[in-house]
Symmetry: C2
Subunit: 655 residues, 2 copies
């Protein structure tokens, strides 16, 4: 890894060095470990009654010659299994579990058996179309599936030291390297669905082999160049689609961000998941190859997303047509896509930008996506999931308006295209990764999640115990566990949602304004065992307003407290939620409700509600009367866990 | 026609007895006569450069053996020609024009030549699929095209007394009667696209043959009965679609209102044009067969449309998916369909209900659809048309959001599916039909359009000259041209939009409240030549509010004056129109602008506009500042006649 210069950048703290123990998150983590992972394993083995079948394990069994059968599911079905395996690996990094490890080892044996002699591994092509492998990178997800399995392999290697899957995927990576690349005689192609770029960077680091980094760089560099690979490939396969087996139209290159070289791109376009996976890979490659220009492109695209194309929930991808970004300030609440995977990918992108340059604005977005869209995608029972994460739901419209069929008012057991649930699992089992990072001599805190950690900062061991009831409460206590020999910086993120923060070190107030740097309060000192840092983030109920260019949200506001966006549900507030408006004197207050949804803080207040006094007349010359009503808002991430009904994030505001 | 009892009902005044001469309408009528009809004739002959080709005349020429070639266009292409011919016939009823008559005679010769020996006439099947005729009523519009040509035939017969086309269509009707019907050995079917029902009632009246009325009644009665004809037909044609020539799914019966017997239907569903054509036909059949139960069904469906599914512009059909009604109170402004043809069909339905029972509420809807959606569908140049009539347009969204591609910000020259332009032509050339009706001893006025009329009321000739600057002004003067021998009622519609009306007869005030009946002020007297009735309808600027169940319009208002709905355009008010809100002290006033758009009355006022002071931040904790701005609204029907840009009907209201 020494052959390329790198940009200055931070490093994460290994997951195994983090133990999460927080009132809010322990429940989630326990649910993931005890319910979600086993449930998803059952789903991947097609053992959930009345759920869409997966075929994911089945396909490997058939490919391995262990049973007869046909390929089932989407042509990228292998990736579901890879993501689950990666999730299991993260669990094993923090919670040894022989039974789970045995299951995974068995699965890895199966995967190894399925691999071909030449290193190729993709059950769709192996079972259905071996003669067509590598003929349709635009549509066929071979590199995507490979990337996911590489990520799983690295995670399992880091968890257990076992390298069987890592070697399987090294053979696949080498197969890819022999097949695709810039050299004459190779296919000068790149993936239709990005993912392998960031995976190859992980492979390069795990295997300490710069060749895989070069491959990632090639995929980034080749993309969008003319003459266009996707056009040439399309002609070569006689314009036939692998999906329909019929003639297809010329590849839409915006759809997968191949409409121009990536360094020239300034605006997020196309399929949102592909986009953010690619941007994450671009940031990885930029940092690890010392490519400042590429990092600049990442910054430009980042700014476009977060200042013009991101929902308040951290959702991205405004349209279900192509599961895609649309255009600046187009953020419809009721026809939204905001795929769970896209917000997970946004977290990947944010994290890599944060490692490249520790600015709290990246962590703000990471936190926004995590606490809202990502958490919302799973039911409290750990067995139902959202693929689409709307900000406004009218169940009858979801049922009767084909333009809103994709907006489900109720989470589902599983999906024909089940990319999201295992993606969620791998994100949450690796949550520890996103809490801290080390930049030179400074330890950064990003997310406030209680527990213990250990890291090496400037060559010195640092160990901290964090206690907090965040996000319900804004007080965080960090306790230093070991003396440091030299001064070390502790950079505490002051979240963008917080207007006033207070810091005490061993009871003494710190001048927060005086030590702010890029959104972090940086305290540098020689730390003693028992040093206690208390961070108090003021966390009032806030009414958030959107840029007026977001026409869906003009004259509206959303409720937020801390990192949590709130919403109204029909079960608390009756139907026709948009007929309610926040008043200037809304008297917003919080109420702690241990009885509700596992124990939450609700927001209560007064709203005006349009009263329907003339039931039968559709149009009238007198404004509807308004009545004062009290309302209850719950955290957005918990919507849809009670009686199904309407849900609304952006409320009209009378101001 | 004596063999069936009828319900008591009114009769229209023949178009030839109406001469329109009004500042507002004469321009429109002249445009239709001088530009639209010739332009459309050119379009139907494929002589408009850069416009979608029609093939309509071409298809008849090929079918008549006059030239070689293939069928072109939609399988219902014949109907475009039929509607144009009908429009030309109405023109000839009021404005003899030998050149036009010669053109039409030539066209009728062509149509006659194209007719088959057995009476069958449909160029699609004659040229492409003769062996498949009558095998796919669900999809194939054979009865629809026949219906339109029957309407044209009746209109041309009434215009000129020439019965060549009428006989052609009588032979086609007889062919249909031999082929389809309740009797054993016939096909027990009915049309997938309704239209022939109302056409057969016209045939019955023109030919004074009750058999055609029976046919119409059969089509109404058979519809939606079980076992279901569309299912049986689908199986019989091996489930093959005539459109795709591939396997099709089971017929969606709601789509064409065949999901239950029509008498049991209470809610408007499915394709909006099919729906209203059918409802119009139901009303016709109800009245002419004395079927009070069927008329009740019409009333129920009418109430559902106008109180729950109609835009303020008289547009119907909320969704482009199936060009269809959706569900109660679902009236999105920006993804709306509101097809021009659907509002024309709503006028047909309204008119027949009005003849069945003279209630001003029917005329209110007729007027709303006419002055707003229908007029808006044509550009001021008479050469560009809207198919879809939105209430909110954001051009970049129309371009980039596939869910809004159907919402065009600019009228088009012609359409691949060009049902709307010739439908508009036939409606406007027959506009005279909708001004008056006669119910027993009373003459009803419905639309206020200046000109002259003659009618027979209670056996007496009545002749009136009407003068008015309506809809720009609410004063209407009616002058009686002839003495009546006995007392005759004159029923003046007091429009639903008018809160205060004044009537003077020969300068003497009439007690309007005292003579109101179903929305009409009825004045009964023996009329003398020169009697002058002045009707003064107060016509202030009104802010209209929607039922709060219409969630798209909560906390919003629309501007209306008289029958005209107004809108804001970007060219007058800048971009991001939804960021403007009406204030309570909006100081709304009108301004007469002879210079603008051919001379109009605009509405001006003060609005609040959200100011974008923090350009780069998408979400903030402080509400956007507001600034006071003046705005200009123009009549909705004139939108899109200047620089293309945003348009908005429903404005946020700060109240």
């Amino acid at each position: 890894m020494k052959s390329l210069k790198t940009l200055q950048h931070g490093e994460g703290v290994p997951i195994r060095n983090i133990r999460i123990g927080s009132p809010f998150w322990s429940k989630v983590i326990d649910l993931i470990h005890q319910t979600v992972l086993p449930y998803q394993w059952e789903a991947l083995n097609d053992r959930i009654p009345d759920a869409a079948p997966s075929f994911a394990v089945h396909n490997f069994e058939v490919a391995a010659g262990l049973k007869e059968g046909e390929f089932g599911g989407m042509l990228f079905q292998d990736s579901d299994l890879a993501k689950w395996l990666e999730a299991a690996a993260y669990r094993l990094q923090t919670h040894p579990d022989p039974e789970l490890e045995q299951t995974v080892d068995g699965l890895i044996d199966l995967i190894e058996k399925a691999q071909m002699e030449d290193g190729y591994l993709n059950t769709y092509f192996q079972l259905k179309a071996l003669d067509r492998r590598w003929t349709n990178l635009f549509e066929c997800h071979e590199l995507y599936c490979a990337g996911h399995m590489m990520e799983a392999a690295v995670a399992y290697y880091e968890a257990t030291g076992k390298d069987k899957l890592l070697k399987v995927m090294q053979r696949m990576a080498d197969h890819i390297d022999r097949t695709i690349g810039p050299e004459p005689g190779k296919l000068q192609g790149y993936p239709g669905h990005q993912e392998i770029e960031l995976a190859l960077v992980k492979m390069a680091r795990a295997l300490k082999d710069v060749r895989y980094l070069h491959m990632a760089k090639y995929f980034i560099d080749a993309r969008g160049q003319e003459p266009h690979f996707f056009d040439a490939e399309w002609e070569k396969r006689d314009r036939i689609s692998e999906w329909s087996h019929q003639l297809s139209s010329r590849p839409n290159k915006e759809y997968n961000q191949a409409h121009m070289p990536v360094r020239e791109q300034t605006v997020a376009v196309g399929h949102a998941v592909r986009a953010v996976y690619m941007y994450a890979g671009m940031a990885d490659v930029a940092v690890h190859t010392g490519d400042a220009g590429l990092l600049d492109a990442c910054r430009r695209i980042w700014d476009n997303i977060v200042s013009k194309q991101m929902y308040i929930t951290g959702g991205i991808g405004s349209s279900h047509h192509g599961e895609a970004f649309t255009f600046d300030y187009d953020l419809p609440n009721d026809t939204v896509y905001a795929e769970t995977c896209a917000s997970i990918g946004l977290i990947f992108f944010a994290w890599r930008m944060l490692l490249a340059e520790p600015k709290a604005s990246y962590a703000d977005v990471l936190e926004r996506a995590l606490y809202n869209t990502v958490l919302a995608s799973m039911a409290l029972d750990g067995r139902h999931f959202f693929y689409v994460n709307p900000l406004e739901v009218w169940p009858v419209a979801s049922e009767k308006d084909p333009g809103k069929h994709h907006v489900r008012p109720v989470r589902q057991k599983w999906f024909g295209c089940a990319c999201c649930p295992p993606n969620l699992a791998r994100l949450l089992t690796s949550l520890g990764e996103y809490l801290y990072s080390v930049h030179e001599n400074t330890l950064y805190t990003h997310l406030y999640i209680g527990g213990e950690m250990e890291a090496v900062v400037g060559g010195q061991r640092v160990s901290i115990v964090q206690e907090t009831n965040y996000p319900w409460d804004g007080e965080i206590q960090l306790k230093i566990q070991e003396q440091t020999k030299r001064a070390i910086g502790l950079a505490l993120r002051i979240p963008g949602w917080c207007r006033k923060a207070e810091i005490l070190v061993n009871g003494k107030t710190v001048d927060v304004d005086g030590c702010m740097k890029n959104g972090y309060a940086v305290i540098e000192r020689i730390w003693s065992k028992g040093d206690t840092i208390v961070l108090r983030l003021q966390m009032p109920v806030e009414v958030v307003y959107a840029n007026p260019s977001v026409r869906e949200n003009v004259w509206k506001g959303a409720l937020q407290r801390g990192p949590l966006v709130y919403c109204l549900e029909e079960v608390d507030n009756g139907s026709n939620l948009p007929a309610m408006a926040l008043c200037e004197d809304a008297a917003l207050k919080i109420d702690v409700r241990p009885d509700l949804l596992g124990g939450i803080v609700v927001i209560e207040g007064i709203a005006s509600r349009l009263a329907d006094t003339e039931q039968e007349r559709l149009y009238r010359f007198t404004p509807p009367e308004t009545v004062e009503v009290s309302f209850t808002a719950i955290p957005y991430f918990l919507w849809g866990n009670r009686t199904p009904g309407e849900m609304l994030v952006w409320l009209p505001v009378r101001y």
